[in-house]
């Protein structure tokens, strides 16, 4: 009960902070729209040569963008953690009796909510240019993306608490960012790549998220990618949140 209440308070706080930071809002909205506007047109010409029917371009591309958004919004969470550590905010919260789990999860949930808003805008735009919505699939996709974003956010926050300063944190995050993204087939399906890439991708959680996203976007619930995606993300998410809460409980010297 107390955890629930504290989570609400810290969710509200973080949301207010974000809303009062117009630059951040602008970037949050513009990056997915830029992907849609500046990348999709190119795909349309490439699609036939890859054996994708031109109407199916958005079906492949949009879920990838949404997964990319979830991944990026989660993994960048630690930057604000670093800032709040250095400003003494985290320490101020840690000395109160507030639930440690709430200190972690409040901002993460706030981030998820904002991601949902961005996603809704992106999907609306996509519908405008011919994307066909499968409502049930979209609902399941929202859950999947929530798991992905929460898992990355918890990972990023905990990494920030462990490294405690911007240089090491940024080095770790940037070092992980690119290989994970490239080996997930976010922009183009990994099935276009050579065998060794396809094998490596199977060690990448984001790959499962992207594959499941593509299946869910077309409402293909029967595809193995769907259960595989949830089977990989759900336990991983729980594990990472458990670890991150532990990091919060232990001292951050």
């Amino acid at each position: 009960m107390k955890t629930f209440r504290d989570t609400g308070l810290l969710f509200h706080r973080y949301t207010l902070q974000m809303l009062r930071n117009p630059v951040w809002l602008f970037v949050g909205f513009s990056s997915p729209i830029l992907y849609l506007a500046l990348f999709t047109p190119m795909l349309k010409h490439v699609a036939p040569t890859l054996g994708v029917r031109s109407g199916g371009v958005l079906e492949i591309f949009l879920p990838g963008i949404l997964a990319l958004l979830a991944f990026a919004s989660g993994i960048s969470m630690g930057f604000s953690t670093i800032f709040e550590l250095q400003a003494g905010v985290i320490e101020r919260f840690r000395v109160t009796p507030a639930s440690r789990f709430a200190i972690l999860i409040g901002p993460i949930l706030s981030g998820l909510m904002m991601m949902a808003v961005f996603d809704a805008v992106v999907v609306a735009i996509a519908v405008g240019v011919g994307f066909q919505v499968h409502w049930l699939g979209l609902a399941a996709l929202a859950v999947l993306l929530g798991l992905l974003a929460a898992l990355m956010a918890a990972f990023s926050t905990a990494t920030a608490l462990v490294t405690r300063e911007i240089n090491s944190f940024a080095a770790i995050i940037n070092g992980l960012n690119l290989p994970i993204l490239l080996l997930a087939g976010v922009l183009l399906p990994i099935s276009f790549g050579p065998v060794w890439m396809r094998v490596l991708a199977h060690f990448n959680p984001l790959y499962y998220a992207v594959q499941a996203s593509r299946a869910l976007a077309t409402g293909t619930f029967g595809a193995p990618a769907v259960w595989q995606g949830f089977a990989v993300l759900a336990p991983l998410c729980a594990l990472i949140i458990f670890w991150a809460t532990r990091v919060f409980r232990k001292a951050v010297a």
Binding site: K2, D6, L9, L10, R13, L16, Q17, R20, N21, Q86, A87, G88, V89, I90, E91, R92, F93, R94, V95, T96, P97, A98, K250, A251, V252, A253
Partner: protein, 328 residues
Amino acid sequence: MEAIISTTDLRKQFHSRRGAVEAVRGVSIEVGRGEIFGFLGPNGAGKTTTLRMLTTLLPIDSGSATVAGIDVARRPKQVRSRIGYVSQLGGADELATGRENLILQGRLYGGDLASVSSRAQLLMEILDINEFADRRVKTYSGGQRRRLDVALGIVHEPEVLFLDEPSTGLDPQNRAHLWDHVRALRSRGTTIFLTTHYLEEADVLCDRLMIMDHGQIVAEGTPRDLKRQVSGDSVLLSLHDEGGALARARLLISAEPYVRELTTDGDQLRLYVEDGSAALPGLLRLLDRERIALKSISLSEPTLDDVFLHQTGRSLRDAGTNTTESAA
């Protein structure tokens, strides 16, 4: 004296690439309820580390500590609801207003919105925050921010308030203003535990203090008692050193029964005497009789810096720079 904070042989080690650093080496303290208790020492002396152990932010390596009668290591949660802590950084949300900060803080301590709002209003009046309470914190001046930080630390009416270097970065006027607020808090029954590396702050504000160096306590007592431990007052004589006057004066003065210690520094003689104002006439008569010309003479009562110097062989003003590195 009812002890509200007590520690026994508190220790903390940090491990870095260059090996282990003992930041706190056996600190035992007792702080009475309703005191303003100070921790004085140079940067890196272990003051903040001790404070962080007492406020549940850092695990205790060995030794024990109780705050408000509760064991810090075993029941950190209960300790947290009884203490307030204002770090050097403060940590208020810059994008929120002072009032919003206070209300959130109060609610994290479990208060309901109505009672927290009225408590926040009261605190803003007490600490002169009202005028800018609904402005965002990033527009606050240093003194305004510090007052908000203190308000955040006491929003839940803690029994003990911990202040880590409360007046760092404040100008003298704001510093004096803050001291008034701290005294007012004490008169309302809050115990205040603060760290400082300002001699004046320790001297003027604290009822009792402890001097810390290299993780250990080197002296403890009221500022008055501590200063009395050092050899009385110091007299500084500046002489015209003609025809060996300095050497002659040194010899003569050191033979005087009331002189405890004598040091030379250039053309200056510094002597420590039991009672400076009683010793001056005799000194002047002696020098006059021996026709030794004086440039100037000054008398000063001992400061806490003299206490530190006496205990560690270094001046507190110089000590910070040597020790920060080893403790970082």
